[in-house]
Point group: C3
Chain length 301, copies 3
C-alpha cells in the first residue's frame, strides 16, 4: 500500500505547483523530480490560478514570506480548493514574527489545507495558539490583517529557535505523548493532517496516529530538509489525492530512509553535510516501493 504510492507517483508523474522560498526552491524542485513528479514554481498574482489549474497539488511554504507572496498563496490556494487539489502548507517560521504567524493562521483559516507539515517547534507553536485562544480565535482579513483581541500573548513569548527546532522541542520518548496530543489537537482545530517531524515523526488526522522511526540527525544540518519533505508530500498527495494520510506516511518514511542511506554513505566515505544533502536526493531518485517497505519503521498508536 505505502510502497504503491511511491510507484504510482513515478507512473502518474503529476505536476506540482510550489510557492516556496528562494533558499530551498532548487532543492525542492530537484527532490520533486527525484520522486518522479514535475515541479512548477510560480508566484505572480497574475498567473498562479492558471498554474495551479494545470497542476495536481499545491505546496505553499512560508519561508522568507513577503506580503506579495502571501497574496499569491491565498489566490492559488482558493483555486486549488475549487479544483479539489490537495494543498500542503509548510509553516516555516511560525512564531518568529507577527507577519509569519498571522499569515499562517490566515492561510489555515481561508483555505482548506489538507496537510500541515512542520517541525516540532512550529507545530507546537500552532497548537499553543489554537488551544490558548480556543473558541475565540478571530483573524481580521482586511487590508491590514490582524488577530483581534483574542490572541493570548503567552503564545508569542514562548522561545522559538528561528526556523529550526528549539532544544526544548526535541521529540523524545519522554515527551512523545505531549507531542502526539498537540498534533492530534491541531488536526482537530484545523481539519488538516498534521505531519510533525523530529527524532520521531508523528502523522495524524486527529483520529489515527502513525509514528515513523526512520531518519538521521544529519538532516538538521541540511537547510530545507523539512521543506524538501513537504515537496515530497505534495508529489505523493498529487499522485494519490484520495489517500493523503497514506501519502504523508510514505513521504515521511521515504525521507527518513534516504537520510539513513545518506548517513551510512558519508560515514563510510568520511564526508560532511553537503555530501549528505547530495546523497539524500540521490537516494530519493533511486527509491521504489519495495525498498520503502523493507526499511520503514512504522508504529501505529
Amino acid at each position: 500500500m505505502l510502497g504503491q504510492i511511491i510507484n504510482q507517483t513515478r507512473e502518474k508523474a503529476p505536476l506540482i505547483h510550489n510557492i516556496t522560498s528562494y533558499v530551498v526552491a532548487n532543492d525542492c524542485a530537484n527532490i520533486t523530480l527525484a520522486c518522479g513528479a514535475y515541479p512548477i514554481m510560480a508566484e505572480d498574482l497574475n498567473e498562479v490560478k492558471e498554474v495551479t489549474s494545470i497542476a495536481a497539488a499545491l505546496v505553499i511554504n512560508t519561508g522568507i514570506l513577503t506580503e506579495g507572496k502571501l497574496s499569491a498563496m491565498l489566490v492559488a490556494g482558493k483555486k486549488a480548493n475549487v479544483l479539489a487539489h490537495p494543498v500542503i502548507l509548510d509553516p516555516v517560521g511560525a512564531g518568529v514574527s507577527k507577519l509569519r504567524t498571522y499569515a499562517i493562521l490566515r492561510l489555515i483559516k481561508e483555505l482548506s489545507v489538507q496537510v500541515i507539515r512542520g517541525n516540532s517547534s512550529e507545530i507546537k507553536k500552532l497548537y499553543e495558539i489554537y488551544s490558548m485562544n480556543s473558541g475565540t480565535l478571530r483573524i481580521e482579513t482586511g487590508d491590514n490583517p490582524t488577530i483581534v483581541g483574542t490572541l493570548r500573548t503567552e503564545a508569542d513569548i514562548n522561545p522559538v529557535k528561528g526556523v529550526d527546532v528549539a532544544d526544548m522541542d526535541i521529540i523524545t520518548k519522554n515527551n512523545l505523548d505531549f507531542f502526539i496530543m498537540a498534533a492530534k489537537e491541531l488536526a482537530g482545530y484545523t481539519g488538516a493532517i498534521i505531519v510533525m517531524t523530529g527524532a520521531i515523526d508523528i502523522i495524524t488526522d486527529g483520529t489515527s496516529v502513525r509514528l515513523v522511526h526512520n531518519g538521521n540527525a544529519m538532516l538538521k544540518l541540511v537547510t530545507g530538509s523539512g521543506c524538501m519533505l513537504s515537496s515530497v508530500v505534495g508529489a505523493y498527495c498529487g499522485a494519490n489525492p484520495k489517500g493523503c494520510m497514506e501519502a504523508c506516511v510514505a513521504a515521511v518514511g521515504a525521507m527518513g530512509l534516504c537520510g539513513e542511506y545518506a548517513y551510512e554513505k558519508i560515514l563510510h566515505k568520511q564526508e560532511g553535510s553537503a555530501s549528505f544533502r547530495i546523497y539524500l536526493i540521490d537516494f530519493m531518485s533511486q527509491l521504489d516501493g519495495d525498498r520503502l517497505m523493507q526499511g520503514i519503521r512504522l508504529e501505529e498508536r
Copy 2:
C-alpha cells in the same frame, strides 16, 4: 572551429548578465564560471542598464516571472541591443499562463533577440502561436499588455506539462521533421537562432540546420538543466558575438557531452540525480575544445 569557441571563452572570460529565476540562479552562475565566463545577476530597474553595459551578453529567463522582472528584462534588453550585445531568451513556461506567454511574445517583439533556447514543448508552443496568427499577431504594450483579438485560442488549449516537456512533444526520429520545420519557421518569424533541446537537439537560423545527438535522459531529472544550457549559450555568444550560430552548436554539444560523462560516472558509482547534477557542472569546468571535437555527434541538414 567549434572547439575554439570553448577555448576562447576561457581566454576572454566575458562578463554575462543573467536575469533568471531563483530556482536555477545558483546553478546558472556556477556553470557560467565553469565555462570560464563570469556571471552577474541584477534585476532592479535602476541598475540593469549599467550592469548590461559592462557585460558582453544578456541572458533572460522567464522562470518564476513577475511583472517587475519583465520590466527589467525589457530595459536591459533594449540597452543590450543598442550596444549590440547578444541577447539570449529562455522562454521558460511558454504556454503555462497568459502572463508568461504574453511576456515572452513582448520580449521577442520589443527586443532584438539573437537566440531563443527552449525545450521542444516551449518552442512548439511559440511556433504554433506565430503560425496560427500569422500576419495578424499584434501585442498591445500599454499598461495592461494584451494580445489583441488575433490570438487564436487553439494554441492556448494545447496541453503543456508545466515547465517540462509534455510526452507528446518528445523528439523522436518519427516526428523529427516536424520539429525541424517548426524551429525553422519560428526562426523566420522571430529573426532569432532557435535552439530546441530534447532527445535530439535542433539548432537553426531558419536556413541551415544542425542536429546534435549528444546528451542523456538524466538531464530531465535535474531542474534547470535547460536554463544552465541557456547560460552556457550566453557565455559562448558573449565571447563570440559574431558567431552566435557556432556558439549555440558548441554550447549544445558541450552540455550534451557533460551529460554523457556525468551519466557514465553515476552508473559506475550507482549514484542518483543529485550526483549527476554535480558531475555535469564538474565536467563543464574541465571541458576543452579538443574533448568537444572528439565527442560531439553533429549532423547537418
Copy 3:
C-alpha cells in the same frame, strides 16, 4: 584562541539573520549550519525587526540588490545596532552601478557596521570613493538617495569586473602593501573591521593587520564563495560578539583551509568545480579548533 571561536560557535549555536541574494542563499544557509550556527532568512519590512531581535548577528549582502531589500537591511541593521548585535556587510558589486554603490555607502553611513567583508575589487573601490571624496562625502538619504556633488567621477570610471575580482586587483606580493594601506584606510573611514579576500587575505581594524595565506584559486570558480565566508564571519561573530577581530581571522582561516582540503580532494579524484563546492561545505561541517590551529598560516603586520 582562534580555535576556541570555532568550538564556541558549535556550543552556543547562535541564530544568524541573513539578508542575502537568491543566488547564494542556499549555500549561505548550509555553511552557517556547517559552522554549528542556525541561519534565518527574512526580508519583509514587516518582520525584519522581530527576526533580528531573536538573532545574535546580522549579515547583509548586496547581491541582486533591490530597493525593497535595501529598506529591509536598513531597518534590520538599526535594530541590530540598538541590540548591539554584530552587523556584517558584504558589499557585493560595489562599483557596478549607482544603485549598489550608493546603497552600500548608505548602509555604512546609517548603520554601525562591525565588519565589511569584500573581495579586493570591492574593498579597493570603496577605499577609492572614500579617499577621493575625503571630508566631503555626503549622501542624501531622502526618497531618491544620491551622493551629492562631491563624488569624484574617477572612482566611477575605474573598471570593475562585475561581482568578481578584476585582473588588476589580484593581490600579489608586489601590490600587497597598497592593498593593506587601502584596507586600513577604509577601516579608518568606516569604523569597521575590513576583511579583504584574495590570494592573500587581509584583516584589519585600522590598527593591527593580520594576513592569512590559506585558500585555493578554485574558490573563484564557485559562485558565492565570498558570500559564504561572510556568513561564516556572521556565525563566528554572533558566537563571539566581543571578539569580532579574532572571529574574522578564524573565519578567513577556516574558509581558506576548507578550500585547500577541497582542492586536494578534487585533485585526487579528478573532479571539477561543483564537487569542490560540495567538499568545501563538507569540510566546514567537520572542522574544529585543533585542525584550524594546525593549518592556518597567519602573519601579523
